[in-house]
């Protein structure tokens, strides 16, 4: 990890970013806004699967909002990488960052799995993926994981808790 951090610190793009200190808050703003779009898109899909919203079929809802998830995830990733390049050593050694990245990996996997489950369920005999327990479970897991990513993004509390538990 130390070698990776050293290599990232030496990159020209990181050095250029550190000369543009004013850019960091704007990257953070883009990062937060993209995070908000992901959360809301996930909630809209999940509300339909849970039966809270009945305005459209789950597959239609997913087809409409999943592009928002992937688009916002692209923005989140680009802004996140640029932010990380400001202080790679601190970012990579930060426990909250590691938890955030791990949680995000699971969140992306759950989102893909949910998309697959909805598509597969729509071709099933009863044509109603909403009632399948797997779909409901994946919908819940997706929301919990993306909320987890958001919380871990402000993870000082989490790091303090872990330090207290481990000391």
């Amino acid at each position: 990890m130390a070698e990776l951090a050293a290599w990232l610190t030496s990159l020209p793009v990181g050095q250029a970013l550190r000369r543009l200190n004013w850019l960091a808050p704007w990257l953070q703003i883009i990062h937060i806004l993209a995070n908000g779009m992901i959360l809301s898109a996930v909630v809209m899909i999940d509300m339909r699967i849970w039966g809270i919203s009945r305005s459209q079929a789950s597959v239609t809802m997913a087809r409409r909002f999943q592009p928002w998830i992937w688009g916002a995830l692209g923005l989140l990733t680009v802004s996140g990488i640029l932010l990380m390049l400001y202080t790679p050593r601190r970012a990579l050694s930060d426990l909250a960052f590691q938890v955030k990245m791990t949680t995000m990996g699971f969140a992306i996997a759950a989102t893909i799995a949910l998309a697959w489950a909805l598509r597969s369920g729509s071709r099933a005999a009863d044509g109603n993926p909403d009632r399948h327990p797997l779909t409901t479970l994946l919908a819940t897991a997706t929301l919990v994981l993306w909320v987890g990513v958001t919380l871990a993004g402000r993870g000082r509390w989490f790091v303090l808790m872990m330090n207290r538990i481990m000391s």
Binding site: G36, S53, S55, V147, T150, R154, W157, F158, L160
Partner: protein, 163 residues
């Protein structure tokens, strides 16, 4: 006199506990940012529909019914956590330019929302499923979206401008 009130607020047991305790401020900040992020995302769904940029196949009233209740819950969480955060450094926050701009944006959003509900939303039956909405609805969406982007932006800048 206001400064006296703010100093008193900073000295309350609750404020002291949050600012000096090991977990108060970081935990509240985590909750506040998450709730605000969620509010922005949900409101953006409505605003983009009003602007005709997304969800054009959905009725505005359907989206409203789905989105608004949850958004209010998140807003209340954000307001309570934000209020508690404010007490920890009430004087410094009150003098922070970005903090003042954040509340100016929130006031604009509130007025915009009130105007939309009173003057634009009652006529929804005529344009509920239209792809392109009346100018007043689009304007309300644009002001709301810009307002919430300003809230998030100002909130991020608060820390950079703290004295």
């Amino acid at each position: 006199m206001l400064k006296d009130v703010l100093i008193w607020l900073e000295g309350t047991p609750l404020a002291m506990m949050m600012s000096h305790g090991p977990f108060g401020f970081p935990a509240l900040e985590m909750i506040h940012v998450t709730a605000t992020t969620f509010v922005f995302g949900m409101i953006a769904i409505i605003d983009l529909r009003l602007l005709g940029l997304a969800s054009r196949g959905s009725a505005v009233s359907d989206l409203y019914r789905d989105v608004i209740p949850l958004t209010w819950v998140a807003f209340v969480v954000a307001a309570i956590s934000g209020g508690l955060l404010f007490t920890t450094q009430a004087v410094a926050y009150s003098m922070n330019f970005a903090f003042r701009m954040k509340f100016a944006a929130l006031a604009l959003i509130a007025l915009n929302m009130l105007a939309f509900r009173l003057f634009v939303y009652p006529g929804i039956a005529k344009w509920d499923r239209a792809a392109k909405l009346p100018l007043a609805a689009r304007l309300a969406g644009a002001i709301s979206l810009a307002g919430w982007i300003a809230v998030v932006s100002c909130a991020r800048w608060i820390a950079y401008l703290m004295i």
